[in-house]
């Protein structure tokens, strides 16, 4: 398996009035054409890891790494112009909430066409046809009608599919999905995951799937990285989740109420200070 992305000792820190906040503290992993899950609680640094790869870290934050390499390009030293050309065309990102991440005053179709024409030199006619084909690929019925709708006119699940279509239209090699289904209903969640799964395997993309739901991630990904306080505490093959060794991973697995288990009260995480060391 060829390695597409190499992350070695990635650090992201935010200077604040009260001192330096280290959001990501030495994260290392490699990614080939596979599905990698990153799991952790709010504030564990999982989203900042994804954003650092995308190059979307806020300007005042400091990013450092001994290696951050995507397909032979050193992302840390690459000029802004190169990163801009990568973003959207070769690395794409799906965000959590379609309500806030789509442009509210632009029709869905125009937003998809905009992405496509930014990265590829295609005519209007062809761009429209490809956008509609892409909307059909994410299982939107009546894609021609949805093309002309604005984001507020569609449901959350449909909006998320439109965003996936927008991100995939330029044919990226690496997709970073930051909680792509957390804002959706359980039933819609599975449909969206199904679509994502199909597209990733058909197109042979690499996927980084960021979520706080360990069970969902492990049912979807090949490998799972568990993060706590900016560090990787455990790396697992998804099918091997039952043998998780770190107490934090075990705690995350246990704290979800599931059907058919009667546990009152639910076990909660007993956070040990040494986990964060």
């Amino acid at each position: 398996m060829s390695t597409m992305l190499t992350v070695d000792d990635l650090r992201v820190s935010f200077p604040t009035r009260t001192g330096l906040i280290e959001a990501v503290r030495g994260v290392s992993f490699t990614l080939g054409r596979e599905r990698l899950g990153i799991v952790g609680e709010s504030g564990s640094g999982k989203s900042q890891t994804g954003r650092a790869i995308m190059g979307l870290t806020p300007a005042h934050a400091k990013v450092s790494a001994s290696k951050l390499n995507f397909a032979g390009i050193d992302l840390l030293t690459a000029p802004a112009k190169v990163r801009r050309s990568l973003r959207g065309s070769r690395i794409a990102m799906i965000l959590q909430d379609p309500k806030y991440s789509l442009n509210p005053v632009m029709s869905i179709g125009r937003q998809i066409v905009e992405t496509l024409r930014t990265h590829e030199n295609v005519g209007k006619r062809e761009a429209r046809d490809r956008a509609i084909a892409m909307l059909e690929a994410v299982q939107i019925r009546d894609a021609g009608r949805v093309f002309d709708l604005h984001p507020h006119e569609v449901s959350g699940g449909m909006g998320q599919r439109a965003m996936i279509a927008m991100m995939l239209i330029a044919g990226p090699e690496l997709l970073v999905a930051d909680e792509p289904t957390s804002a959706l209903d359980v039933t819609v969640q599975l449909e969206v995951l199904g679509i994502l799964d199909k597209l990733v395997s058909e197109r042979g993309m690499g996927l980084i799937f960021i979520s706080h739901d360990l069970r969902l991630v492990s049912s979807f990904c090949d490998r799972v990285i568990v993060m706590y306080a900016g560090k990787i505490v455990e790396e697992l093959v998804a099918s091997d989740l039952g043998n998780a060794k770190h107490p934090y991973t075990q705690g995350l697995l246990n704290c979800m109420p599931t059907l058919g288990t009667d546990r009152h009260p639910l076990p909660v995480l007993d956070r040990q200070p040494e986990w964060a060391l």
């Binding site: 709010s42 359980v186 599975l190 969902l216 059907l259 639910l266």
Partner: protein
């Protein structure tokens, strides 16, 4: 069964849209009743109708044997019924300290002894008095939801309406908040009506539940039936499958 809250043939319409279509539920005193369904199924509308926040077009709500007015709710009602909302980031006043937030319901209802009650409410939700003079932006999501619960509990209601109280929280924090809600219910013998789209959470918290779809109740069952898979509606079965996580090739 003598119900403490019951909705009888409740209908709520927004312009031409039928959000609730002749829905009836009965909740016994001390019971925890769950409402499940996808977005737009009307589960939150039903809860809001009980709280007097949705425009009821027909049907009635009976509390403790007394029918309620369709629009107007008096103070005594809110003394008895309190609500906790989904989004802890949106439901607390950003410019008020925790102390001020907790004082508000006491002032509205003219409850004396504010000092002691605030300290007790904070203690009860496991936060302690050090949180008293913080602003909500200084708290995490789980801590905010605890404050929202404390605010609802402080005037000692009998019925709590919980609208997805944990769906904005991390899995690990969700467990803490669910344990807190169970504990309070046990200590105070409260009645809960809880809305959630997560079957795991609802079966954990509630004894009976109603499954809603398109503004109607499609199935009523006990949690034990649900766990044992004694379901009659296909829609409930779909929800069951969905709650088990992603299975490759399960979605065509």
């Amino acid at each position: 069964m003598t119900a403490i809250v019951s909705a009888e043939n409740l209908t709520v319409t927004y312009d031409d849209f039928l959000a609730l279509d002749t829905v009836s539920i009965d909740v016994a005193p001390g019971e925890s009743f769950g409402l499940v369904g996808e977005s737009g199924s009307g589960k939150s509308t039903l809860l809001r109708a009980i709280a007097g926040l949705s425009p009821v077009t027909s049907g009635r709500i009976v509390l403790d044997g007394k029918p309620l007015d369709a629009k107007y709710r008096d103070k005594a009602f809110y003394r008895q019924v309190q609500m906790v909302f989904q989004d802890p980031y949106g439901s607390l006043h950003p410019r008020q300290t925790v102390d001020r937030l907790l004082q508000e319901p006491l002032a509205i209802h003219g409850v004396a002894d504010a000092e002691r009650r605030i300290l007790r409410a904070l203690d009860e939700v496991g936060l302690g008095s050090s949180f008293r003079f913080r602003y909500s932006h200084q708290l995490s999501g789980g801590q905010r939801q605890r404050i929202a619960i404390a605010r609802a509990l402080i005037i000692e209601p009998q019925i709590m309406l919980l609208d997805e109280p944990t769906s904005a929280l991390d899995a690990s924090v969700q467990a803490e908040v669910l344990n807190l809600l169970e504990q309070v219910r046990r200590d105070r013998k409260l009645t809960y009506i809880m809305v959630s789209h997560d079957l795991g959470v609802v079966t954990h918290m509630c004894e009976r539940l109603a499954v809603m779809k398109n503004g109607k109740v499609v199935e009523r069952l006990s949690s034990a039936d649900l766990v044992a898979g004694r379901l009659s509606e296909d829609y409930t079965k779909n929800l069951m499958v969905a709650s088990k996580g992603f299975v490759r090739n399960a979605v065509a």
